[in-house]
Assembly symmetry: C2
DNA sequence: TTCTATAATACGGTATACCACGAAGTGGCA
DNA sequence: TGCCACTTCGTGGTATACCGTATTATAGAA
C-alpha cells in the first residue's frame, strides 16, 4: 500500500516460447479502492470521537500515485456509502445513524431471506453441510470467551447463505451491506446473551435448509435479521 | 445536454440586497451522469443488433465538458451495471443475458416483498389508497389497446410500494433494478394475457396491504415477481 | 494474391496544472 | 479589547497533456 508501484515492464521482448500469461490487469484506481476501503473499514469509526477527514492529495502521495485514481476510488466509496464528499470542505468518513443501521439490517433481511429460499431449492447437500460445520466449535453455546471469533463466524455464516443462492445480484448487494455491518460489529460484541440466542437461531436455520423447508428457512432467516434490527433499535444508544 | 455550459459567473459583484439563494450545486460529473444515463436507458438496446460502443472523448466533446467528469459518470454507470469498460477497447453498453435478468427480478422480489411487509406495518391509509387509484382506469382488464401505458403504470405501482416502505436502502437499491427493467420493458410488452394476470395479482396485493395482512402481502408481492421471473425463463428467448 | 512485419492510430489510464470558492487567519480601525 | 474587511491558504472540481498498449492499416516480400 505504501510501496511505489512498478511502471510496467517496458520492453519485455515478448518471448513467443516462454510464458507470462498472467498479466497484472488491475489498475491503480482499483488498487487504491481496495486499499482505501480496507483503511476505512479498519478505522473503528464508531468508537472514535469526532469526524474523520480524508485528504485526496495526502492519500495520493501516501499511495505513491496521482490524485486521479484516488478520486475514482473515492467516488466509488462514496457511492457505496462509506464516505461523503463535501465540496471545498473535504471528504469525510460516514458514520451511520441508528435509523440508517436499522434500514441496512432490514434490507439485509430481505436479501438473505430470499437467498435462503433459493438455497433450499438449488444448493447441493454438500454445500449445505458446510453451514453446520462452521458452528461445530460453538455448538454447546460455550463461547463466552471468544466472542470476537464468533462474531467473524457469524458474519461468515450469513455470507455463506447469500453465496449459496448463486444469485450474483443478491451476492453483490449483500456484500456492500456486510461491509457496513463489519464496521459496527465491534460495538455489538459483548452482549453474550444475544450470542446465545443467535446460535440457537442459526441452528434452526440450518435445520430448515437441510430439510429443504423453503418457507421456514425464509421466515427464520428474515426474523433472525429483523430481530437484530429490533435489538439495535432498543439498545444501540451509542449510535448517536 | 448539448448546450455548452457557462463557466461560472466570474465576477458577479455579489449584491447583498437582491437574492440568488438557489445556487446550482450540481457538478459537471453529476449532470453528465444524468445525461448519459438517460441516453443509455433510451437506447432500446435489446431491440437493436450489435454492440454499442461509447467513446469518452466524443461524449465529452458532445457534452461540452472534458473527459474527467465524463469518466466519473461512466465509472458510476459501470458500477450500476449499465456499461462495461474494456481496457483499450472501449466502453460498451451492457446487454443483460436471460440469466442475469432473472437474477435481477429475483432480487427485486426480495426487496419489494420486504417493502410490502414494512408498508403494512407503517404506511398510512391515505398512502395505501393511492395504490388502488392507480388502477382505476384498468380495473376491468380492458387495457389491450394501451399496453404501453399500462406498462408504465405497472412499474410505477411497484415503485410506489417500495417507496412506501420509507426505507432508503430498499428504495435506492430497487431504483437501480427498475432502471434495468425499463430497458427490457419494451420487449415484454404485447403479451396481454400476462397483463391480465398482472392486474389480478396487483388487486390482490392491494387488498392484502389495505387489510394490513403482513404475511399475505409479503408473499403475494414475492410470488408476483417470481412469477415474472419464471415467465422470462420460459419465454424470453429474445434475450441472447 | 497472401502472409507478415512494421507503422499509424485510437483507446482507457494516469499525471498534473489550474480554477473557483469557502474557511481560516491577519491586520487595522473604532 | 472587540469587531470587521481583507488576504491567504486549502479544498474538491475540471481541463488537458501524456503514456502504454491493443487494434488496425499499410507496405513489402514471397
Amino acid at each position: 500500500m505504501t510501496s511505489s508501484p512498478p511502471r510496467g515492464q517496458t520492453a519485455a521482448a515478448a518471448s513467443r516460447i516462454a510464458v507470462a500469461p498472467l498479466e497484472d490487469t488491475s489498475t491503480f484506481a482499483d488498487r487504491a479502492y481496495t486499499a482505501l476501503r480496507d483503511v476505512i473499514l479498519g478505522l473503528d469509526i464508531y468508537s472514535r470521537p469526532g469526524e474523520i477527514r480524508l485528504d485526496e492529495r495526502r492519500l495520493a502521495s501516501d499511495l505513491g500515485i496521482s490524485r486521479t485514481p484516488v478520486r475514482e476510488a473515492m467516488a466509488q466509496l462514496e457511492r457505496e456509502g462509506f464516505v461523503r464528499s463535501v465540496p471545498r470542505r473535504g471528504i469525510y468518513v460516514v458514520r451511520k445513524t441508528k435509523a440508517e443501521v436499522i434500514e441496512l439490517i432490514t434490507a439485509w433481511a430481505a436479501l438473505e431471506s430470499m437467498a435462503a429460499r433459493l438455497t433450499t431449492q438449488s444448493a447441493s447437500d454438500e454445500e449445505i453441510a458446510k453451514l453446520r460445520a462452521m458452528f461445530a466449535t460453538f455448538e454447546n453455546g460455550r463461547l463466552h470467551a471468544k466472542l470476537d471469533e464468533y462474531s467473524e463466524v457469524n458474519i461468515e455464516f450469513h455470507q455463506t447463505i447469500i453465496r449459496m443462492s448463486r444469485n450474483r445480484v443478491l451476492i453483490d448487494l449483500a456484500e456492500n451491506l456486510f461491509a457496513h455491518m463489519r464496521m459496527i460489529r465491534r460495538k455489538t460484541i459483548g452482549e453474550s446473551d444475544r450470542a446465545d440466542r443467535s446460535i440457537r437461531d442459526h441452528m434452526n436455520i440450518i435445520q430448515a435448509i437441510e430439510g429443504r423447508d423453503t418457507g421456514r428457512a425464509e421466515a427464520l432467516v428474515r426474523d433472525h435479521a429483523l430481530g437484530l434490527a429490533e435489538h439495535v433499535a432498543r439498545h444501540a444508544d451509542y449510535l448517536d
